[in-house]
């Protein structure tokens, strides 16, 4: 089942890319089947450890295995990705080959969460870049080449140290293979750990994104297709927090300790910094890009706290932000369809013509700025409870973003929907968009009101991580 779930999107995507006449319905079916598989996998999860584990020797002489399996966070993110892909191919109006690329990218993302072998993890992590780049290249805006350079350089240059660190971890640590279980049993220590961790960190900070390695993100979003599909997929690609949690910290706990102070500071500062300057963002995609940086700053702050609460918060916020962040990008895609522009100014007063879209936007906005009861809050709260134990001042700094978020989000929203009504009438949501709205709203409410559904599976993971640092809870 897990193999089918993992590879089906890639096969469907390839097929669709070659035979685009299969059309959007084909993509939707593929995404729906993927989501169904995800739900089945989640429902069948026992609650402890890595489920659905399977391993086959791939290059046994160097210790590489094709090993996959899912733990609590893997399942959460797997579900989030499957859901978002379905929403994206359902609602975004893009060429069919674009959808095909999105499906291919889905396999890469799922692989990142499922991989139980470090080399395979790295392979998925890098391979996912290809469809992301192709989307930008084929369907991006006029300045996409520059955006591609920046994106590719940050990710590729960032990945090289990680590759070196991967080998360092295995050979200096003395593990038998690249399997997760082997590597965790042989953590690095001392100076080597600090350096190897830094190698991981560079690559993963780019994909968190963690200040100041977020600098590639604004142009990436600005230049991607206005439908928001590529941006949604890009949001799913923010796997840094996950990979730090899953690989970098457990493999090199001493290395993490070495950098913890700096990392906490960067995370907290980035959370506030990005939220603050989002206020000056001239267009919605830039705004959402910085909003995402800010939220990931909060998530990273939770993770770097190194305790149970912070870890649970970080992982939950990551999953939630994949959903609301992506939905927000798809939403501005719907706006673009009506206005032909994503600029914040001038005021448009769309609400008169599109009351339903207005309500949807308000809802997503509130989910994004962490309104309690919606998906962003449980993660933020837990991250706060974790981080406060480690550094109250940095927590204070990071959570000033709560105020800044209200300012940037409501101001931009006011310009788009409120104030002077726009003269030219535009249609309100159609059926397809209502479907998107209903599912998104339902999921964000569920995540906000009943976080227990997932946090019961995250709690043991958080405790395990805390145990690495002697934390009791």
């Amino acid at each position: 089942m897990i193999h089918l779930g993992l590879w089906l999107p890639l096969l469907a995507g390839l097929l669709l890319f070659i035979v685009p006449s299969l059309g959007r319905t084909f993509a939707i079916v593929s995404a729906a089947v993927s989501l169904a598989i995800a739900v089945v996998l989640f429902a069948g999860y026992g609650g402890q450890g890595v489920a659905y584990a399977s391993q086959t020797p791939f290059l046994p002489e160097v210790g590489v295995y094709y090993a996959v399996g899912l733990d609590g966070v893997g399942l959460l993110l797997w579900m989030a990705v499957s859901l978002v892909v379905l929403l994206g191919v359902w609602v975004a109006e893009v060429p069919v080959r674009f959808l095909a690329l999105a499906l291919m990218m889905q396999t890469g993302l799922l692989g990142i969460f499922a991989a139980q072998d470090l080399v395979f993890f790295y392979a998925f992590f890098e391979a996912t870049l290809i469809p992301a780049l192709l989307m930008l290249w084929f369907y991006g805006g006029p300045e996409r080449l520059r955006a591609i350079y920046i994106f590719a350089l940050f990710t590729l240059v960032g990945s090289l140290p990680m590759l070196a660190s991967i080998f360092a971890v295995r050979y200096l640590g003395g593990a038998e293979s690249f399997l997760y279980t082997d590597l965790v049993a042989h953590p690095l220590s001392g100076q080597a750990a600090a350096l190897a961790f830094l190698g991981f960190l560079v690559a993963l900070a780019v994909k968190t994104p963690l200040f100041p390695l977020h600098a590639w993100l604004p142009s990436f979003h600005q230049q991607n297709h206005p439908s928001g599909l590529a941006d949604a997929m890009g949001t799913l690609y923010k796997v840094g927090v996950f990979a730090l949690f899953k690989w970098a910290i457990p493999l090199m706990p001493e290395g993490f300790k070495e950098w913890q102070g700096l990392l906490l500071f960067l995370a907290a500062f980035g959370a506030l910094y990005a939220a603050w300057l989002a206020f000056s963002a001239p267009d919605w995609k830039t705004l959402l890009a910085y909003a995402g940086v800010s939220h990931m700053g909060v998530a990273a702050l939770g993770l770097f706290s190194g305790n149970m609460e912070g870890t649970v918060g970080a992982l939950y916020l990551l999953g939630a932000s994949m959903v609301y962040g992506s939905a927000m990008f798809l939403f501005v895609g719907l706006v673009y369809k009506r206005t032909g522009s994503l600029d914040v100014l001038p005021a448009r007063g769309l609400a008169r013509h599109t009351p339903a879209l207005y309500v949807l936007g308000m809802f997503l906005l509130m989910a994004m700025i962490g309104l309690p009861g919606l998906s962003g809050f449980p993660g933020e709260l837990m991250a706060l409870l974790g981080a406060y134990q480690v550094s109250p001042w940095l927590t204070f700094l990071a959570f000033l973003a709560v105020i800044a978020a209200a300012a940037y989000a409501l101001t931009a929203f006011q310009k788009l929907f409120q104030e002077t009504p726009q003269a030219q009438a535009v249609p309100d949501m159609d059926r397809r968009e209502w479907g998107f709205a209903a599912v998104t709203v339902g999921v964000l409410l569920l995540m906000g009101l009943y976080p227990k559904l997932f946090t019961v599976y995250l709690e043991p993971l958080g405790k395990a991580l805390a145990a690495l640092f002697g934390g009791a809870s």
């Binding site: 206020f279 409501l410 946090t455 709690e459």
Partner: protein, 610 residues
């Protein structure tokens, strides 16, 4: 205390109304949408009453988040608040059926209104602080939606946004309080915190800090100095909103939160002193500003500020039950005052400037009676509701220190003055406008009749001990708040205080009644000019905080591009990739400069915070 699912049902009723009206309200139309919303609130009221009479209730979903339950708790304290919110809330709902008549957003209005009630009930009933916080921000959202209800006017949405942002400053305090309490005690359930605080074994200073964080939260929600600036602007919303949210219920949530945490405050002289100070400042600031307003709703809004200041003083001096008692009486007379204002606005076709009112006693006899009672209750005339709760605050203030009693007496003189000024300008003299005023329909009069009875009578449940009637509310509330020992004043002193405050109020009302009918003397005009602008606090905040914050956002935005340029420069240095990265260089001096500033900020911040 029973465990029952009926407790969440109290919240679910208005929530259901929010969803139903939001989706199908347009089809229901007028007035069905309004009645549905009202009856659901009435349902919550009745259900709450039944559970309260049965001795309270609890309900919990364990491990909603790791170690944090989703728990609700109906005790006497939350019960009283529940009665006020749903009872007065129901009346305002009904009144709004008439007031919102003909508005294109009729059903949307009632949908938001029900959302507010639901959120407020979560706030009140929550036992676990994160649950309280859901309600806390929920009412903020409802308030935001309703202030900006007529969203095509920029001024309305600007006011709504301001309210939300200022409230979020308070919310940050609430969040930090949760962080600190969790790290101290490992729980966020109020009922468990009570035990842990009693058990001791923690640093007292740390607990003071936690209390301070909560206080910041309360100050935002209850519009205390210096976070009061959003409340006057919130009057941009429809009048029922001002009555329900910005007078009777939501703004008292901060007071409720503090009273809920009385166990953290009562031993803490510093924190209590700070609360007294904030309350005093707010009481005077609100009162003085009210005396200079021309907009009928802004007059009343500032009077609310002043009364909220009274409540804070009550909390600060340790008179926790009195603070709640004042919430109850205030809910009646202030809602009545707002709805009377609304009826006048309604009668004059939307006019809000009191300079174009006057003489309404002839045109609107019933509304005039409401206004008169509201004025007397708010001005503290014996024996109306406002007198008893205010008097209790004064008595406790005297125990705290005769100087505080004296200041509070002054503040209540001002309260009498602003009440009577409102009354004189609206109802007395000759009509100064050109409309044809007409009395409100029955659906608007009846809620006011009931509120009027309340504004006269609810004070009698909290008579001072020297009068030989049973004080019903003190023992009822202290059962939930906790008994904190305090020395009762001697009978003679108490009587002197009561008589003084009664006579002073009568004198002030009478003097004000004469004074505000005359042409204003020059000194008053000068005072009024400053008071009208809220003593320029908004301008000050804009100059000191808002504009610098915006400027910094601009600067950071430029600086962020500088980071990219910085990486390009790094690439150049490293050579190999340089030629490729050189394309990124913009060469703009501004970016480098901003990047430099940013780096500096980072270094300093790192140094300070590590």
């Amino acid at each position: 205390m029973q465990e029952t699912f009926l407790l969440p049902l109290i919240i679910a009723l208005p929530l259901l109304g929010f969803v139903l009206l939001g989706l199908f309200g347009k089809r229901l139309g007028e007035p069905a949408a309004g009645w549905l919303a009202s009856l659901l609130v009435l349902g919550s009221f009745l259900l709450g009453l039944v559970l309260l009479l049965q001795g309270g209730a609890r309900w919990a979903l364990p491990d909603w988040l790791p170690g944090i339950p989703f728990s609700l708790h109906l005790d006497n304290l939350s019960g009283v608040m529940l009665m006020v919110v749903t009872g007065v809330g129901f009346l305002i709902h009904v009144w709004a059926i008439g007031y919102m008549h003909g508005d294109p957003g009729y059903s949307r209005f009632f949908s938001y209104f029900n959302l507010f009630i639901a959120a407020m009930l979560v706030l009140i009933l929550g036992d676990s602080l994160p649950v309280v916080f859901i309600g806390w921000e929920g009412v903020g959202l409802a308030s935001y939606l309703l202030i900006g209800f007529w969203y095509h006017e920029r001024i309305n949405v600007d006011s709504a946004r301001k309210a939300f942002i200022v409230n979020r400053i308070g919310d940050l305090g609430f969040l930090l309080a949760m962080g600190l309490l969790w790290s101290m005690f490992g729980t966020l359930s109020i009922s468990e915190l009570v035990e842990k605080v009693e058990a001791g074994g923690y640093s007292f200073t740390t607990l003071t800090l936690a209390g301070f964080f909560l206080l910041v939260g309360a100050m935002g929600k209850s519009a205390q100095v210096p976070l009061m600036v959003w409340l006057p602007d919130a009057m941009a919303g429809p009048t029922p909103v001002s009555a329900l949210i910005h007078a009777a219920t939501m703004v008292t949530a901060g007071v409720y939160l503090l009273v809920r945490h009385a166990f953290m405050l009562h031993d803490d002289a510093y924190l209590s002193g700070l609360i007294v100070l904030i309350g005093l400042l707010t009481a005077f600031y609100g009162a003085l500003c009210s005396l200079g307003q021309w907009d009928i709703k802004r007059i009343v809004a500032y009077t609310t500020l002043s009364q909220l200041g009274f409540m804070f003083v009550a909390v600060g001096v340790g008179a926790y039950w009195v603070a709640i008692f004042h919430i109850v009486t205030h809910a009646f007379f202030k809602a009545l005052m707002f709805m009377t204002s609304g009826s006048v606005i309604h009668a004059l076709g939307g006019e809000q400037d009191v300079r174009k009112m006057g003489g309404m006693r002839k045109y609107l006899p019933a509304t005039h009676l409401h206004g008169l009672i509201a004025t007397f209750a708010s001005g503290g005339l014996v024996p109306l509701a406002g007198f008893w709760s205010k008097d209790a605050i004064l008595a406790y203030s005297f125990e705290y220190g005769p100087w505080l009693w004296f200041l509070m007496l002054l503040a209540s003189v001002l309260a009498a003055l602003y009440s009577i000024r409102w009354y004189v300008l609206v109802f007395w003299g000759e009509y100064r406008g050109k409309e044809h005023p007409h009395e409100s329909p029955a659906v608007m009069l009846w809620p006011n009749h009931i509120l009027m009875v309340g504004a006269i009578g609810v004070g009698f449940m909290g008579l001072p001990y020297v009068i030989d009637y049973k004080n019903f509310i003190e023992p009822f509330l202290t059962k939930a708040i906790g008994e904190f020992p305090h020395e009762k004043l001697p009978v003679f002193t108490e009587w002197v205080l009561i008589l003084t405050s009664a006579l002073v109020a009568i004198a002030a009302l009478w003097w004000g009644f004469r004074f505000f009918q005359q042409k204003m003397p020059a000194w008053y005009e000068r005072f009024q000019a400053a008071a009208l602008q809220g003593f320029y606090v908004d301008a000050l905040y804009n100059a000191l905080l808002v504009n610098p914050a915006k400027g910094l956002a601009e600067l950071l935005f430029g600086g962020d591009k500088g980071i990219l340029a910085g990486f390009a420069g790094l690439g150049n240095l490293m050579g190999g990739l340089g030629s490729l990265l050189a394309r990124l260089e913009t060469g703009a001096l501004r970016f480098y400069l901003a990047g430099f500033v940013l780096a500096l900020v980072l270094l300093v911040g790192w140094g300070v915070l590590r």
